[in-house]
């Protein structure tokens, strides 16, 4: 087989036990959480573009908020909270819609549940700004499960199809009386899609047909696909996963979990690069040699 006795650094690099690799990931992530370092970050072009649309919001503007599931929330939490904070501070109105059941729990973990008096992350800001349910924001529930018909109804004939919120309470007398078509919408924010955005219903029926600005707080997997949609003009801006959220926190001047997580992200990426280098050294220094030696004719001297 061509194996040599004794310690071989290349063999060690090629066959590192996975348990130790995963243990190091925990060390690299938990370490900066316990002992913050404060590595500086730079704000990217996409985040500035995203923020520019938020900054243009005025009091009374109506914003569609498409919820994030728990699967994406942990990744985009910083951008999710920072965006909502900006919307509340601008006194814009929110129409909250979901496509999955847990999106509501995620939203209420941030904005609280007024029925049960359960506070959320932004409840202090909401109390300070007098931002109230049914006056400033309404949760319509899982209406997006209606598929294409739901998107078209929301875009073209809101009043004929939407009569109550997720609890069955009538929305008559709220700010939604002024919403008829997508022309009455100032902005759409997809708070945490599981992939890219642009080809979905809001991109096609709102952004394409009515030119409503469409922003996305996308997870890592969706960044490259969403960039393609930004190039077409359908999507106007995006936050790139946790890093984008941290940049937005920096821009709005409210440091939060995103900025604190950047130390972990930086060290995690350095660790990953180191693993790639070590793995390649191990491959070219041992595995490849071992494969080549296997192909040689027998008769090699064995120690």
């Amino acid at each position: 087989m061509g194996e040599k006795e004794g310690f071989n650094i290349f063999k060690a690099m090629a066959y590192i036990d996975r348990k130790y690799l995963f243990l190091m990931i925990f060390v690299v992530v938990l370490g900066p959480i316990l002992f913050p370092i404060g590595i500086p970050i730079k704000v990217g072009k996409n985040t500035r573009l995203y923020y520019s649309y938020l900054d243009e919001l005025e009091s009374g503007d109506v914003v569609y908020w498409i919820g994030a599931t728990y699967r994406s929330f942990m990744e985009v939490k910083s951008g999710y909270v920072a965006t909502l904070r900006t919307i509340i501070e601008k006194d814009a109105k929110l129409i909250v819609v979901y496509s999955e059941g847990d999106e509501q729990a995620v939203f209420q973990s941030v904005m609280g549940n007024p029925d049960t008096n359960t506070p959320g992350i932004l409840t202090p800001l909401m109390e300070k700004s007098d931002y109230k349910y049914m006056e400033d924001y309404v949760e319509l529930g899982m209406i997006l499960v209606g598929g294409e018909a739901a998107y078209v109804s929301l875009a073209r004939n809101f009043q004929d199809f939407i009569h109550n919120d997720y609890k069955g309470t009538s929305i008559e007398g709220t700010f939604l009386d002024e919403v008829h078509t997508a022309e009455d919408i100032a902005l759409i924010v997809h708070a945490g899609p599981l992939g890219g955005i642009g080809a979905d219903g809001f991109g096609r029926h709102f952004a394409l047909d009515f030119g409503v600005p469409y922003l996305g707080n996308v997870i890592g997997v969706g960044i490259s696909t969403t960039q393609a949609w930004i190039d077409t003009g359908i999507v106007k801006g995006m936050l790139e996963s946790g890093r984008g959220g941290a940049e937005l926190e920096f821009l709005i001047g409210h440091p939060g979990v995103g900025l604190r997580a950047m130390d972990c992200m930086t060290l995690g990426h350095y660790y990953f690069i180191a693993l790639v280098i070590v793995g390649n050294i191990g491959y070219f220094g041992w595995e490849r040699q071992a494969m080549l030696e296997e192909k040689r004719p027998t008769g090699d001297e064995q120690i």
């Binding site: 959480i33 080809a199 077409t232």
Partner: protein, 235 residues
């Protein structure tokens, strides 16, 4: 700092479930992981069922009782979908499925062609050189070259010989670079998700000793069970 009992209990259970699932990295089945993963599926399905039934009640039954009679059509069509569980009557589910698919296609086809095809092609028609903007010029030129090479890579109708064969190799190289980029972005996203959740179970500070303590207990128990061969028996 006093923590409400419900929040404390939920946090402890959440931390226990987290580290139990992370015993996945031990590369052997563990009883902690088995219990929590099965419970997660069951609880998740239960929660989805309750939320969906509540949604149907609030948005279907209540409006029906208020006089919106057309909601009955939706409720009946939805009920027909359940006929799929019975082989004899499963054909009834084709009606609501046909209505849903047909409506979706009819409403969405125009926009899908415009956004996914026409707009994407138009976005590729850019000047290769932008006077005064080197970055954009590089970006545009790269877009055009990579797009052309990738299109050539996927031409299977005839063999491409001579200079065109080089574009195929370039196209393949660009494809690998693109896939590698997507993989790197996926890793970034997963790391971000992992970091976000670790922050969730480590802040505020009162959670730290519980997080680290429960991790030590679970991983310690796993190592001990592995040493005495109990993982194979109880995993």
């Amino acid at each position: 700092m006093t923590v409400p009992l419900f929040e404390f209990t939920a946090t402890i259970v959440g931390i226990f479930c987290t580290w139990s699932l992370y015993t996945q990295f031990f590369a052997k089945p563990t009883p902690f992981r088995s219990i929590v993963s099965n419970a997660y599926i069951g609880i998740g399905m239960g929660m989805v069922t309750v939320i969906n039934m509540w949604f149907i009640y609030n948005n279907g039954i209540l409006p029906l009782m208020r006089g919106e009679w057309w909601m009955a059509i939706g409720i009946v069509l939805s009920a027909l979908m359940i006929s799929r569980i019975n082989r004899k009557y499963s054909y009834l589910a084709r009606l609501p499925l046909a209505i849903t698919v047909g409506t979706g296609l009819g409403l969405g086809l125009r926009t899908q062609i415009t956004t996914s095809f026409i707009k994407q092609v138009l976005a590729m028609i850019v000047p290769p050189i932008v006077p005064g903007d080197i970055t954009q010029s590089i970006y545009n030129s790269t877009n055009i070259i990579v797009a052309l090479c990738l299109i050539m890579f996927f031409v299977y109708t005839r063999e491409l010989k001579g200079p065109l064969s080089h574009t195929i190799r370039l196209g393949a190289a660009f494809l690998y670079i693109g896939l590698g980029t997507i993989f790197a972005q996926t890793f970034m996203g997963r790391l971000s998700m992992f970091t976000g959740y670790m922050q969730q179970i480590m802040t505020p500070e009162w959670k730290i000793p519980y997080t680290l303590g429960i991790a030590a207990i679970i991983f310690g128990a796993t190592i001990v069970m592995d040493r005495y061969g109990l993982l194979d028996k109880y995993g």
